[in-house]
Point group: C2
Chain length 330, copies 2
């Protein structure tokens, strides 16, 4: 019998179709090998990107010159524009505003051939520092309510360039899915006076069936009601409402890279999406929301049922996914 499970954070139900029980090798999605060729993100080509916003350099070299270990640049084809005012207006019953926002690219390392799972651990830590610094900086801009940090690995997951990079988009509104999580978390807090994420961590670390790994400061697990096979979540072990409050960068880098190596091992380098969910700027410190990283390997297709219902059909129970991940020899 398949099982319907409710994700307590989003309120979304999923169908865990246990009988279809797909094993990791059944998916057969693998990122394409890198083709090489000219790359604007490679060292030496700094002038082909918009001027850098932030860079880590040991040699204290000039901006937009070689010698960096990480660069942050504006997206050349931004989804939103940095100049201008929101200008919220109606159009009859409809509502719209100018598409103001920041859209930046974090080039994680100069080496074209590495991925976030194979980068030196220092680069992973630098990447997390860059996320933090950019988020803190963009918070100063009063037009922005939220920064979404994300990464698309592999063409199938939406990456248009193969050189390993992450992105961030600063938004003048709180995204729908984040607001949904916040609303549910607030409702839970209103009833229980506890953070729902803290309760999940407590229950999961006791039961251990969906735990993938733990260190002093972070817990990695398969959520109870994942949207897709091998969806994975990394959370700070102790309550922390915003990524801006994080101080454990090396432990987080270690946990993130370990998890990505496990995903690569179990699923043979699948395309994936990574997202950071955090509290909105205006409510950075609170007792009900708990920042976290979501990882979604791109293994299944979104079809009419999912589009029409917001329901997901997941052929791999998270208990099995967690076991495969725990047992992966990396």
């Amino acid at each position: 019998m398949p099982e319907l499970r409710k994700d307590p954070i989003s309120g979304r139900w999923v169908i865990i179709s246990i009988e279809r029980g797909k094993r990791p090798s059944d998916f057969g999605m693998r990122i394409s090998p890198k083709k090489g060729g000219f790359c604007a993100f490679c060292e030496g080509n700094e002038r082909t990107t918009p001027p850098e916003i932030l860079a880590f350099r040991q040699n204290k070299g000039a901006p937009d010159s070689p010698g960096w270990s990480l660069r942050v640049v504006p997206n050349k084809f931004p989804a939103l524009h940095i100049e201008g005012k929101e200008n919220r207006v109606g159009e009859g019953i409809f509502d719209k505003m100018n598409g103001v926002g920041a859209h930046e690219v974090i080039i994680e390392n100069p080496d074209h051939n590495l991925t976030l799972s194979s980068l030196p651990i220092k680069s992973v830590e630098d990447t997390l520092w860059a996320f933090h610094q950019r988020m803190r900086d963009l918070k100063q801009d009063e037009r922005f309510k939220y920064v979404l940090i994300f990464k698309n690995e592999g063409d199938e997951a939406g990456a248009s360039l193969e050189h390993s990079h992450s992105q961030l988009i600063a938004l003048p509104i709180i995204p729908h899915l984040v607001q949904e999580e916040i609303d549910q978390a607030k409702q839970y807090y209103g009833y229980k006076e506890r953070c729902i994420f803290c309760d999940i961590i407590h229950q999961e670390t006791s039961a251990h069936t969906r735990i993938i790994s733990e260190n002093d400061h972070f817990v990695t697990l398969s959520p109870f009601a994942p949207r897709s096979p091998f969806e994975t979540m990394i959370l700070p072990r102790n309550h922390e409402s915003s990524f801006l409050l994080n101080t454990h960068f090396s432990q987080l880098a270690e946990m993130l890279q370990k998890t990505l190596k496990q995903i690569d091992k179990v699923l043979d380098m699948p395309p994936y999406n990574l997202m950071v969910h955090t509290s909105p700027f205006h409510d950075e410190t609170n007792e009900y929301y708990h920042w976290h990283i979501e990882l979604i390997p791109k293994l299944t297709k979104i079809a009419g049922f999912e589009w029409g219902s917001g329901f997901y059909i997941n052929p791999t129970p998270p208990e099995e996914a967690a076991k495969f991940m725990r047992d992966a020899e990396i």
Copy 2:
């Protein structure tokens, strides 16, 4: 400047990135040609599907024998099981239930090589009748709160068999996205004492910038804040809360096929998803919700930003999409 637009029905914002302004030919997604080979949905192979639930036959032949013009059969690999009780239980803080539900396949026509856009109009009308009959029948089962009707056309849109078919899933809960629309529509009704869909139809048919076509009973339009390029909506012109209340089958068939022909013409036979949204069984007749058909050509990829935010970036403004559709010579 890109534009942020709010979909008044779901509450979801989208980014219309006007400057990227993709033209229809920029997408280059086309359904694969049919390969043929053995097909369980073809005439003569009736015994290879589970026993039929409903069929239209001129010749009054026996069930599961040739001579039909449309068949409805249980899905051989159902996402949910028809037998059993819901059995809602907790698992600590989590909630789950048995995956009870119906999962049926509507084989729209015996001809393997046709699509919903090229079928004889009678088959399109029959398909809509079959949706209606199955929905009415499943309503009798008290375990079910909602039936989602959908269609995946093309492998890229999630179709696993090439013979033209639709599907339905009867669910013991109201799907998340439908509930979201209902909640928004109720809120609007609470404030305005009018149906939001009726108001949209009124505004759109006056402005005519996003209208694709109209007949006596139906209106087809590009929504103000579409999730993806060429997303299209067909609505009954006059208020009707449930598809179960529809009586204009031939007009709807005509409108649906015309719209699909326009999509095929403008986008060169793209893969697409079709979904019917209707009021839940327990609230069939109401003044705030308005049933409709959603069509989403599968042209763009869902990447980290969309997964993380519930925001969509749409490179084709709906005003342009509607114009392309209106101007299509079909």
